[in-house]
């Protein structure tokens, strides 16, 4: 990084002398000095509009009030943000705004967290002089998740910008003019019904300062102050977005990123914002099941635990063969406990999970160098980003958002090597189409451009595995520029599963084990397994289990294809119903916090603990805090600062910096290839995701 001296200017705002870098917008300079210049249309990080006129301030020597959101600070500027003239202007603007804005705050979703309400309360007149008829336009439903109530709209154009600039979708625009101007979605039916065809991410709803855009999931359900707001991590993809769940009476009724405090800032996709509804799906398992012939019978927890523990003890005593398959979604503590249970409690190395990216080969190829793994923030800050073999906007929406924001804010150059057209093509510096397997060869076409970049972050998907990973690292090394990597993985804790040693050849922290066990594929093919214990995974979705007499125990949320094969099914709590930590695709450890409780389920950690107790073996105390403490002490790279995690921050793990002798066979590495609207099992049971998937681009009449 080269440091350029930034010229500072001295100015006075409300009698306060402040210094600010030249070119800073007045509204930002004031905010840093603790002075609020109110605004609706100004939104940090998006293009300037100067449309709402709320930020008008008095600048001495200027002939009229100046627009605070577009005015760069200048040397010697004297600004008054609260003079009688400014106060009158604000009052006037708010009075204008309220002329056609319905005063339906008592039923409006936004009531209580509405920027217009706050502004009127603080800067407005107590009474309106408006005695004419208000304009009215009926409410419209644009998609399963987006409703538009035009009279409430104050036309700040935030939604248009977040959709276009932030998401790269551009599904919203402006129609009509004057007082009849409205926001319009991108599609219209033959009978003139407007509807949306987009990512359904709901960013427009979140960014709306008033109740004009409301969520089909949340609308008219509650008032904001009647909810508890639980900050946790989205359980779907591996990006690790913070989502704040609005919980009332133990039910999750809203997801958003209320305080923008996570690594994702204001970003959330449809999954983080809406796809929490699997929690309440009617098919959710709420009682342990026991196979009786070809059907299941509900049994009490005590009986289920006793049955499982008895069988485990029996097989262990007889020197039988265990297989354990872990999850891409369970917490670090659960993963750690499970592998410890398997290795120490059951004495087996047959433990694996569905590998979704070749992280181990990457770590091995990068041995001997530090700081070579990129964080989510790095993807934004990087001067150049290279995406290899992934439809980033579909599969890793936060990372794609970061890259887009980089392009927008500081001209990040984005390069792509993909098997087909991707959204990044819209703003990428160069893109190359390469068939699977041909990515590394195709990179040569970008060599000249990449070598000119000062630095690079490479994101690669499951198409790059095994030797291809080493070839990619060799290619990057040959560019002679600083390079960081992100190995793209599928789900919320895919990274944590590898880190915690849910692999047959590597224990926690990538320590090689003495006698490597069977991989997932090998376990499924082994006909002589006595016990197969599957936790939060669905490997039998499109494969069969060879062992006909294998005793299968499944812990899951739903009766999946795998659970149907089970002898005992244990209903597990989802990530939204438990506490612990997750590690995202970039190796950042974040805390998940319990938001809801579903009757009859138990967190996997507790289930493990109960089985261990029943078996009279000691695997440790099944409390997430105790386990996390043990992880911090024993797992390489996980000695992360507790306060960061405890306060909802993201703590970067230190990458393993040494040899990672992985025995993984590249063909066993498979991404599920989820899109924006799918997410493995939990996605299949999310009504919202199914609603947008089943009829993408169709009008939803709301009936």
């Amino acid at each position: 990084m080269t440091t350029t001296a930034v010229e500072t200017v001295t100015l006075t705002i409300d009698g306060k002398t402040i210094q600010s870098p030249k070119g800073t917008l007045l509204i930002e300079a004031a905010r840093k000095a603790g002075i609020e210049i109110p605004a609706f249309c100004y939104y940090e990080g998006y293009s300037l509009q100067a449309a709402c006129r709320m930020c008008l301030v008095e600048v001495e020597k200027a002939p009229k009030l100046q627009v605070g959101c577009t005015l760069p600070v200048a040397e010697g500027m004297i600004v008054h943000t609260d003079s009688p003239q400014v106060q009158k202007a604000r009052k006037g603007t708010l009075e204008f705004l309220l002329t056609n804005h319905p005063l339906d705050c008592p039923v409006c979703d936004k009531g209580g967290e509405c920027e217009l309400q706050d502004m009127v309360f603080r800067y407005g007149a107590g009474e309106s002089r408006f005695t004419e008829m208000k304009l009215h336009i009926d409410e419209q439903q644009w998609s399963p998740v987006v409703f538009y109530d035009a009279p409430r709209c104050i036309l700040c154009y935030r939604c248009i910008r977040v959709c276009d600039e932030g998401m790269g979708v551009g599904a919203l625009g402006l129609g009509n003019r004057g007082a009849s101007a409205v926001i319009l979605p991108n599609k219209v039916t033959g009978d003139n019904q407007h509807y949306l065809s987009c990512d359904e991410c709901g960013a427009c709803i979140d960014i709306c300062p008033v109740g004009a855009l409301t969520s089909g999931i949340y609308r008219y359900q509650t008032r904001p102050w009647e909810m508890n707001h639980v900050g946790t991590i989205c359980t779907h993809c591996s990006n690790g977005c913070k989502t704040t769940l609005g919980v009332r009476n133990g039910r999750i009724i809203r997801g958003n990123n209320r305080d923008h405090s996570g690594i994702n800032g204001e970003f959330l996709c449809i999954k983080g914002r809406y796809a929490f509804d699997f929690v309440e799906h009617p098919e959710r398992l709420q009682s342990p099941l026991k196979r009786v012939g070809d059907r299941f019978e509900e049994i009490p927890w005590s009986e289920a635990i006793e049955t499982v523990a008895a069988r485990f003890s029996e097989v262990k005593a007889a020197g039988g063969k265990f297989g354990v398959i872990g999850s891409n979604r369970t917490t670090n503590e659960e993963n750690y406990y499970l592998q410890k249970f398997a290795r120490q409690g059951l004495g087996t190395s047959n433990i694996d999970h569905q590998r979704t990216g070749d992280l181990t080969t990457l770590l091995d190829a990068l041995q001997g160098r530090g700081g070579a793994l990129a964080t989510v923030a790095d993807v934004y800050h990087a001067k150049a980003v290279l995406i290899v073999g992934s439809d980033l906007s579909q599969q890793h929406p936060l990372l794609a958002f970061q890259a887009r924001a980089g392009v927008r804010h500081h001209d990040t150059r984005v390069y792509t090597v993909t098997p087909g057209p991707v959204r990044e093509d819209k703003y990428s510096a160069r893109g190359v189409i390469a068939q699977p397997g041909g990515e590394i060869a195709a990179l040569e076409g970008l060599r000249e451009d990449l070598a000119k970049e000062p630095e690079l972050v490479i994101l690669f998907g499951d198409a790059i595995r095994g030797d291809a990973v080493r070839a990619l690292v060799r290619f990057a090394d040959s560019l002679s520029i600083p390079v960081k990597y992100v190995c793209l993985l599928d789900y919320a804790n895919s990274r944590g599963a590898v880190d915690m040693g849910l692999t047959p050849d590597l224990g926690p922290g990538y320590h090689p084990v003495d006698r490597p066990g069977l991989t997932l594929d090998q376990m499924l093919k082994a006909s002589d397994l006595d016990v197969l214990w599957i936790v939060g995974a669905n490997p039998l979705r499109n494969r069969a289990l060879a062992g006909e007499n294998t005793f299968v125990v499944v812990q899951d949320l739903f009766l999946t294809e795998t659970a149907r094969r089970a002898d005992i099914v244990l209903p597990a709590a989802s990530a939204y119903e438990k506490n612990g930590t997750l590690t995202n695709v970039c190796g950042e450890v974040q805390r998940v916090t319990q938001a809801a409780k579903v009757m009859g389920t138990k967190p996997d950690l507790e289930i493990f603990g109960l089985i261990a107790r029943e078996m009279k073996i000691n695997v440790g105390i099944w409390q997430w805090q105790k386990m996390f403490e043990e992880i911090r002490k024993t797992v390489r790279g996980y000695n992360v600062p507790l306060p960061v995690v405890a306060t909802g921050g993201a703590a970067q793990t230190n990458p393993v910096n040494g040899r990672v002798p992985s025995l993984i066979r590249p063909e066993e590495i498979r991404s599920a290839g989820d899109t924006l609207f799918t997410s493995g099992t939990t996605g299949r049971y999310s009504n919202v995701l199914n609603a947008v998937l089943e009829s993408p681009g169709r009008l939803y009449s709301g009936k």
């Binding site: 300037l48 006129r53 009158k88 603007t93 004419e132 004057g178």
Partner: protein, 438 residues
């Protein structure tokens, strides 16, 4: 007919070919000094052309009255980006109807003015943005452009001078807002016509982000005469800092409404009484909107002044785009205010809050007053709301709506009182002024 029998009081520079047989044809144009200015300009340096325009004291005829030569000098000729030229022919200001005559009767004068502008800023492409309502004029301009191409006055290597210039017409779609120069640029680019933030000004980043020379039709039409006869000669026609002649569109209560070319500084009362033949029926003058509906109204006793940019500014109004509306004693000023506000409420683009909501609110109040449901407090409310718009909107449309309202409220309060007391409501003698909107 907007184009009247010429009056001996006129000074005919831009309109000199009006009335000639087949005046729009290239042959007529060439026979009457046509393209001579271009032939002269092509031998001049760009600096010299701009100096000549500066010397003419020509000021923008679109309404703002910005010195044209200075505007031309802002266009960076040495920019690595190509320069483009745009003609604002989105003539939509109520009361204004001059540009249509210039294009109808003398389209080649405009093309020549554009070519000289092209020489001055090293631009080789020009766009004439014509309001959609002027459909027939778009065809008319296209025919003139086609004739110019056919006879070698447009295209590559014009008349062997080595200068290339292309002209295209572009249709507006019925938005007053697109007469605002930056909204016009968005519209040309195919976007919704919304004004842009300034800076950057169009001279630096205009159409498609390219340095753009943007002027009104009449402004470009004045350029050939300036180059041909010299800037000083043009300037001498008018008053200091207010060079040359301009087209005055007189409408309303006059015997001979129409478009007249007058030197700047021409007395207003003389224009009403002599050029336009006075007020019908010997009725008395009540008020004048001097330069299009966005200019503050002058009471009759304020009208005895010469018409140039600076004097009118001093009188609290504007010369604007030359759309003079004359209102006699039978005019109801409240209805006039309503008529004006209906226009602005309809034309507000909706981009910023004060204009979008303010114009509609003012319209509703005025409607209510005219319907006899006004109350005393409406008068200060009208003034206060208009002042809440004034100077606080994104572009000048909000000011354009606020200024006439403020002036009518302040200058004719008694007419509002008459409505509040119920005296005026049923009065049959009152009627709206007829604006000429072309």
């Amino acid at each position: 007919m907007l184009y009247n029998e010429p009056s001996p009081l006129e000074v005919r520079v831009l309109t000199r070919r009006f009335g000639l047989p087949d005046s729009a044809s290239l042959d007529t144009y060439l026979a009457h000094e046509g393209y001579q200015a271009f032939q002269k300009a092509v031998k001049m340096t760009p600096e010299a052309i701009i100096e000549e325009v500066k010397a003419s004291a020509l000021r923008g005829r679109g309404g703002a009255g910005f010195p044209t030569g200075m505007k031309w000098s802002f266009v960076p000729r040495n920019s690595p980006k190509p320069r483009v030229l745009v003609v604002n022919a989105d003539e939509s200001e109520p009361g204004t109807c001059k540009d249509r005559l210039l294009m109808e009767y003398d389209p080649h004068q405009l093309i020549e003015g554009m070519m000289i502008g092209g020489l001055a800023v090293d631009a080789h492409r020009g766009y004439v943005y014509i309001r959609g309502e002027y459909r027939y004029l778009i065809d008319h301009m296209d025919r003139a452009i086609e004739e110019a191409y056919r006879k070698g006055w447009l295209g590559k290597n014009i008349q062997g001078t080595g200068f290339d210039f292309d002209v295209y017409t572009h249709s507006g779609a019925g938005a007053y807002e697109c007469g605002e120069e930056t909204a016009l640029l968005d519209s040309i680019e195919g976007k919704r016509g919304i004004p842009r933030m300034k800076p950057p000004f169009p001279a630096v980043a205009g159409a498609w982000g390219l340095p753009t020379l943007l002027n009104n039709v009449e402004t470009f039409c004045a350029v050939p005469a300036i180059i041909r006869d010299g800037g000083a000669a043009f300037a001498a026609l008018g008053t200091p800092k207010n060079g040359g002649t301009r087209l005055l569109c007189i409408s309303g209560h006059v015997n001979k409404p129409g478009v007249y070319e007058i030197p700047l500084g021409f007395p207003m009362m003389k224009a009403i009484n002599e050029l336009a033949g006075g007020i019908p029926g010997g009725r008395k003058l009540k008020a004048v909107i001097p330069g299009g509906s966005s200019c503050p109204v002058l009471r009759a006793e304020e009208c005895d002044i010469p018409m140039d940019y600076d004097t009118l500014m001093k009188a609290g109004s504007m010369l604007g785009s030359g759309g003079m509306v004359v209102m006699d004693e039978t005019t109801c000023m409240v209805r006039a205010a309503l008529r004006i506000m209906k226009f602005y409420a309809h034309e507000s683009c909706g981009w910023c809050i004060p204009c979008r909501e303010g114009t509609t609110w003012l319209r509703k109040i005025l409607e209510r007053i005219v319907e006899g449901r006004g109350q005393k407090s409406d008068l200060p409310l009208l003034g206060d709301l208009a002042k809440n718009m004034l100077g606080r909107t994104f572009c000048a449309l909000g000011d354009a709506a606020a200024m006439p309202t403020i002036s009518i409220v302040e200058k004719f309060p008694e007419e509002f009182e008459a409505y509040f007391s119920g005296k005026a409501v049923e009065s049959a003698a009152r009627h709206e002024p007829a604006f000429v909107t072309a």
